[in-house]
Amino acid sequence: MELTILQIVWFFLVAILFAGYFVLEGFDFGVEMNVAALGKGDSERRGKILSTIGPVWDGNQVWVLVGGASIFAAFPEWYGTLFSGFYVALLLLLLVLIVRVCAFKYRSKSDDPTWVKTWDRIHIISGFVPALLWGVAFANIVRGVDIDESKFVTTSLFGLLNPFGLLGGITFVLLFWLHGTAYLALKSVDPIREDANALVGKLAIPTIVAGAAFLIWNQLAHANTAITWVPLLLAAVALVAALVLNRMRREGLTFIATSLAIVMAGLQMFGGLFPNVMPARNVAANGLTVAEASSTEHTLMVMLIAVCVFLPIVLAYQIWAYWVFRARVGSPEESAQPATLGERAKAGYRAAFEQN
C-alpha cells in the first residue's frame, strides 16, 4: 500500500502527543517517586512535594487520553492490535492509574495518619509502575512482538519482559525520576530544593548510562533508518547538559534539558519504528505498517483540521495554567503574586507613575 502524506503526518502527531505526555506526566511520575526518595517518611514534607504538581497533573494526564484516542481514530488497526495484545500490561497500568487519580484527590481529605500514609504509598507505586510499564510497552512496540494472521498479538506478558523490554522499563523509570526531580528542584524551596538538586546530580549518570544503552541497542537492532542517530545524539547531549547545568544550579535550564532528552528519546523510538506501527517478530507480513493500519484519508484530514484548531487553544490555556502556578510552592511569592498579566501591568504602571 502506498504511504500518503497525511498518514505520515498522523504518525508523527501520535508521536508528538505521546512525547508531550511523557514530558508532562513524566515529571509527575518522577515527583511521585520522590515521595519515597525525598519524603523522609514525613507526611508534611511529602505533602509539599506532591503540591508542586497538585494543580497541573490532571491536565498533563489528558495527553495520554488524547494520544490513545488519536491512535483509535487515525490507526484503528493499530489500536485494536496493540490494546488487545498488551492486555495484561495495560490492565496493570489502568489499575494503577485509577488509584493514582484517587490518591491525588483524596489524600488531603483526612488528617488520619494511616489514611495519609496509605495514599502516600499509592503515590509511590503510581509513580514507579506506570513509568516502568510504559517503558516496557514502548520497547516492545519498537522491538516487535509475535502477531498471528488475524492481527492478534500472541506474545504473553512474560514475553514482553525480555531484556530489551526490561531495559526500556528501567530507562523510562530513571529518565522520569531524573526529570521529576529536576522539576521538584525548580518548584520547591529549601530544604526540599537542595535535596532535589543533589538527587539530580546522583541520578544523571545512571540515567545517561541506561538511556544510552537502550537507545543505541534500539538504533542498532530495531530502527529502520539511520536518521534517528540525530535525535539519539541530541538526547545524549541534553542529558549531559542536564548534569552540567545541575552542577551550576541552573534549575530552569536543567529541567529544559531533561524535557528535551525525553522528546528526543521519543522521536528516536517513533522515528526508528516508522514506517511500521506494530512490527511482527514471527512472520514479518503479519505486522502492521502505517499505511495498513490507518484510517481513510478523509478521516485523517478531518482529524487534522480538528487538531490544528483545538491543540493551539489547549496549549494556550495549559501554558497559562502553568504561568498562574509559576511560584515555588511554599515561597512568599506564592500567595502574594498578582495573577494576570493585566494586573501586573497595572501594578507596574501604578508603581511607576502614581505616588504612594
Binding site: D58, L91, L95, S108
Partner: protein, 511 residues
C-alpha cells in the same frame, strides 16, 4: 463462561459504575458554577456569605466526585481496544473521531480548569476564578456530547459508508455523525438526567441540614444567641439552597420529559425491536396499550414471548407514545424477528470463525423492567420537589423529620434511574454492537459476537475480577468521603462584634 460474556459483563460493570458518578459531576459542576456566580454578583452581604458557603460546601463534594469519575473514565478509553478490538477495527474510522474530539475539546478543558479552580482561589481575581468553574462545567457537558455522538453511531449509524474491500465502516461526513438525530435527542435527555441527579442531590442535602438547623434553633430557643444563629442558618443558607435545588429539578424534569418523548418516538422508528421489547409487545398490535405490570414472558431466564400476560394496562398509550396516534399499528417482537432473519440471515459468524444462530431479540426482561424503572424512579424526585416547595413556602423552614428522611432517601433515586436508562439503551441494542439503520446503509452493522477481541476467557475474567474488586473498594472510599463532607454541613457564620462584618470564608480548596 465464554470470553464474550465476560467481556460484556466487564463493559457493563465498568460503564454503569463510571456513570454513577458522571451525572453528578456534569450536573453539580453547573450548579456549583451558578452558586459561585450568585455569590460573586450578590450585593447583600448575607446573600454573599450564604452562597459562598454553599459553593464551598458543594464544591468539596464535587471534587471528591470528580476524582472517581476521571479515574474510572480512563478505563473507558482503553477497553474498546482491549476487549472489543474487532469492533474497534470495524468502526474506528468513524467512532475514533468523536472520542478524540472529546479528549481534545472537553477533557483538557475540564482537567486544566479544575486544577485552576481548586488551587487558583488566591491567585486569580474573583471574576477569573468564577470563569474557571464555568469552563469546568462546559467541559463536562461537551464531553457528554461527544461520547453520546459516538454512542449514537452504535444505535443508529449515519454519515458513513461500508467499504467491502476492507470490511470496515468509513467516515463520509463528520458533521452528519455529530448531528445524528439520535445524538440530538439523546444529548438533552442525558444532560437533563444529570441535572436531575445533581439537583436532587443539592435539594436533598440542603433539606437535611435545613431541618437539622430548624430543630436545633427550637431546642436552644429562638431567643438565645446560638438558637438564633441556627434559625438564620436554616433560613438564610439552606432554605435558598433547597429552593434552588427544587427549581433546578423542575427545569431538568421538563427537559427530561420532552426529550424523552422525542427520543422514544425516534427509537420506535430507528430501533423498533428495542422499543417492542421495552413494552413486551410480542405480537403486532393496533392501538397498543402501555403495560405497568407484566408477568410470564419477561423473566430472568427466558426471552420467550409465548406466555406474556399484561396485568395492568393503559389502552392506546404505547401507540400514542410511539407515533402521537393512539390507533397506530406497532410491530411486535415476533414479526420483527422474522423480518430481521429475512434481511440479515439466520446465522452469524463469530470472531473465532464458528457459526452461531442469529437471535435478534434483546433480553425482554431487562429491557422491559429497566425502562419502567427509569421512568418510575422519577416519582421520588417529583415528591421531593413538591414537598420541599410546600415546606418552604412563604419564607418558612420546616422541622419535619419525615421530610428530612425522605429528602435523604430521594437522593440515590435519580442515580438509579440514570443507570436503568443506560442499561435499557445498551441492552435493548443487543444483539447488535452497531445496530443497522433501517433507513440508511444496511451493510453498516455488526453483531456483538463479531466485535469482541480474540482473548482467552481467563484473561478477561482476570480483568473483570480486578476491576470489580477495585471498584468495590473505591465505592466504599467515595461513599465515606461524600457522607462525611455532606454530614459536616456548613459552619455557622459569625459577625465581628466591632465592625459587624460577616466572616465570609475565602473560596479555598486544597489537596
Amino acid at each position: 463462561m465464554e470470553a464474550l460474556d465476560v467481556a460484556r459483563w466487564q463493559f457493563g460493570i465498568t460503564t454503569v459504575y463510571h456513570f454513577i458518578f458522571v451525572p453528578l459531576t456534569i450536573g453539580l459542576s453547573f450548579l456549583v458554577a451558578i452558586m459561585q456566580t450568585v455569590a460573586t454578583r450578590a450585593k447583600d452581604p448575607v446573600k454573599v456569605d450564604a452562597w459562598t458557603r454553599l459553593t464551598k460546601f458543594f464544591g468539596s463534594m464535587l471534587i471528591v466526585n470528580f476524582g472517581i469519575g476521571i479515574a474510572t473514565g480512563i478505563v473507558q478509553e482503553f477497553q474498546f481496544g482491549m476487549n472489543w478490538s474487532e469492533y474497534s477495527r470495524f468502526v474506528g474510522d468513524v467512532f475514533g473521531a468523536p472520542l478524540a474530539f472529546e479528549g481534545l475539546v472537553a477533557f483538557f478543558l475540564e482537567s486544566v480548569f479544575l486544577g485552576l479552580w481548586i488551587f487558583g482561589w488566591n491567585r486569580l481575581s474573583p471574576r477569573l476564578h468564577l470563569l474557571t468553574i464555568w469552563c469546568v462545567a462546559i467541559g463536562t457537558t461537551a464531553s457528554a456530547y461527544f461520547i453520546i455522538a459516538a454512542n449514537s453511531f452504535m444505535q443508529h449509524p449515519v454519515g458513513a459508508t461500508y467499504n467491502p474491500e476492507t470490511g470496515r465502516a468509513e467516515l463520509e461526513s463528520i458533521i452528519t455523525v455529530l448531528t445524528n438525530p439520535t445524538t440530538l435527542a439523546a444529548f438533552p435527555h442525558v444532560v437533563s438526567g444529570a441535572w436531575l441527579v445533581a439537583a436532587s442531590f443539592v435539594a436533598g442535602i440542603a433539606s437535611w441540614h435545613m431541618v437539622r438547623h430548624h430543630n436545633k434553633a427550637i431546642a436552644l430557643g429562638a431567643d438565645s444567641v446560638e438558637g438564633a444563629a441556627h434559625a438564620k442558618q436554616a433560613k438564610d443558607v439552606f432554605r435558598p439552597a433547597v429552593r434552588f435545588g427544587v427549581l433546578a429539578m423542575f427545569i431538568s424534569a421538563l427537559v427530561l420529559v420532552v426529550s424523552g418523548d422525542i427520543q422514544g418516538k425516534l427509537m420506535f422508528q430507528q430501533q423498533p425491536m428495542k422499543m417492542a421489547s421495552a413494552e413486551a409487545l410480542c405480537e403486532t398490535e393496533t392501538g397498543a396499550s402501555f403495560s405497568i405490570l407484566t408477568i410470564g414472558g419477561p423473566d430472568a431466564f427466558s426471552q420467550d414471548c409465548s406466555d406474556v400476560t399484561h396485568l395492568i394496562e393503559i389502552p392506546n398509550v404505547t401507540s400514542f407514545m410511539a407515533t402521537n396516534d393512539p390507533n397506530a399499528t406497532l410491530q411486535g417482537v415476533e414479526e420483527l424477528e422474522k423480518q430481521y432473519q429475512q434481511e440479515f440471515g439466520t446465522e452469524v459468524t463469530a470472531v473465532d470463525g464458528s457459526t452461531q444462530t442469529a437471535e435478534y431479540r434483546p433480553n425482554l426482561f431487562v429491557t422491559y423492567w429497566s425502562f419502567r424503572l427509569m421512568i418510575g424512579l422519577a416519582a421520588f424526585s417529583a415528591i421531593l420537589a413538591f414537598w420541599a416547595l410546600w415546606a418552604t413556602r412563604g419564607g418558612r423552614t420546616t422541622g419535619s423529620k419525615a421530610f428530612q428522611w425522605f429528602a435523604l432517601l430521594a437522593i440515590p433515586m435519580p442515580f438509579l434511574a440514570n443507570s436503568a436508562g443506560w442499561v435499557f439503551t445498551e441492552m435493548g441494542r443487543q444483539p447488535w454492537v452497531v445496530a443497522p439503520n433501517p433507513t440508511g446503509d444496511p451493510t453498516i452493522r455488526l453483531m456483538t459476537v463479531q466485535g469482541v477481541s480474540h482473548n482467552p476467557a481467563w484473561m478477561v475474567i482476570l480483568s473483570l475480577v480486578a476491576f470489580t474488586l477495585l471498584y468495590g473498594v473505591l465505592m466504599v472510599v467515595w461513599f465515606k468521603l461524600m457522607r462525611r463532607n455532606a454530614a459536616a454541613g456548613i459552619p455557622l457564620p459569625r459577625r465581628d462584634e466591632t465592625t459587624d462584618e460577616l466572616d465570609t470564608p475565602a473560596l479555598s480548596f486544597g489537596y
